[in-house]
Symmetry: C2
Subunit: 242 residues, 2 copies
């Protein structure tokens, strides 16, 4: 599995992902799931990927190759156009390798993506692209999107993320969300990739990569764990305990 | 959906469940999912149910009817024997209504159960019974079991629950776990049922039911939410923020 998320705030966009891939417990590997496509001054796009590793790698490779030649991500007039292209590439690659006929393998080739970024003076945007190639954007009420192993880390996002939150707070919240997921699910693992894009800069996003023992991530993990323990211990007692 | 959990500590057992049932968003109802079977001085059993509502209701009804006549739950020599019986009843009821032949409906009749309790002087025990009728117990390392919508509320259990935790702390942790799940998933809803069984008493467990505005549950929810916000705001800053 995988866990990736992205959030859209007034100040800009935050992207985060784990890096563990697994095809069965005896085939665990590390592979980046956060892929920037950057044309400074013109457009900044970031793609997060989850699902079948052969599909996601093929999609990313094709998009990167196209990007060198000024392909669709480079030329798209709107973020939604770029999202549509990612969906089409994903669909085509899945269809090319789809199992056929009786006795075909039951391996799922499906992959999901989050594409976010800003084109020129337009508003930054964020899309979740389904395996079927169609996509949704996020809402003001819940301005984040998740793919992969999304449930463990959702409660803290539900509580913290809103359009008014600063980029840094959203990034910290993403780290906490990924940490909680890693603790509860072995298939999500370090290092953690983080990207902060400040709205209207059209500059390369601030990019960070944390291992478990990277000082900043380790201090977040420690303080969060100790803090949870403290607020838990301070919760009101049942009346018979008094 | 549903969310039920049970935890086994040195001091005894804790059971908790939400009460929302839904068969599609236009058929939402409230139904208890925590079912005690009590013969004070001899044995205390508590059953938690999740899955197809017709299956779980039929299983619980049959077990209750049998219990009146001193049936298998009353007579089982070991908790595992009682768990096996629950599994068999569940299997039989699923099989009786299983869709057959082409064009059969694709509704899942599956149900899962947690059965916990104590028989005489034996150790208290906890089992998770799968739709297939087989079952597992929990381990010292992770002394809790969950059924239904389990992921949102798992991180806090992973952090807090251990055999050394008091019954009351485990019950509070269960309330926090269910609260987090209700906030992130509409299909899990109040009231929340809670039962605390103190080891070797063989007495009726302490039983509580909370609505969202029940004073104790409301104070837990409020303090937990505010506490999370506080520890989040106190997390260390990125170096460029200083």
């Amino acid at each position: 599995m995988t866990y990736c998320l992205a959030a859209a705030m007034n100040e800009g966009l935050v992207f985060a992902s784990d890096s563990r891939t697994n095809a069965g417990v005896d085939h665990i590997n590390t592979y980046p799931k956060l892929h920037p496509f950057i044309w400074e001054g013109d457009r900044i796009l970031v793609l997060l990927s989850a699902g079948n590793l052969a599909t996601t790698q093929a999609v990313v490779t094709q998009l990167e190759r196209e990007a060198l030649d000024g392909g669709p991500l480079r030329k798209a007039q709107y973020m939604a156009e770029a999202a549509e292209h990612v969906g089409q590439v994903s669909q085509r690659i899945q269809a090319r390798h789809a199992p056929e006929g009786p006795g075909a393998s039951s391996v799922s080739l499906e992959a999901s993506f989050i594409l976010g970024g800003q084109i020129g003076a337009q508003d930054p945007a964020l899309f979740l692209i389904y395996p079927q190639g169609n996509f949704i954007t996020c809402s003001e009420e819940q301005p984040f999107l998740q793919i992969g192993e999304t449930k463990y880390g959702k409660p803290i996002l539900d509580r913290i993320i809103s359009p008014a939150v600063s980029l840094e707070d959203a990034a910290r919240c993403a780290l906490v969300s990924i940490d909680s997921t890693m603790r509860s699910n072995l298939s999500v693992g370090p290092p953690v990739d983080l990207m902060l894009y400040r709205r209207d800069t059209l500059e390369r996003p601030r990019s960070l990569r944390y291992k478990l023992n990277s000082p900043y991530f380790a201090s977040i993990r420690k303080q969060w764990g100790e803090g949870l323990r403290r607020i838990f211990d301070d919760l009101p007692r049942f009346d018979w305990e008094k």
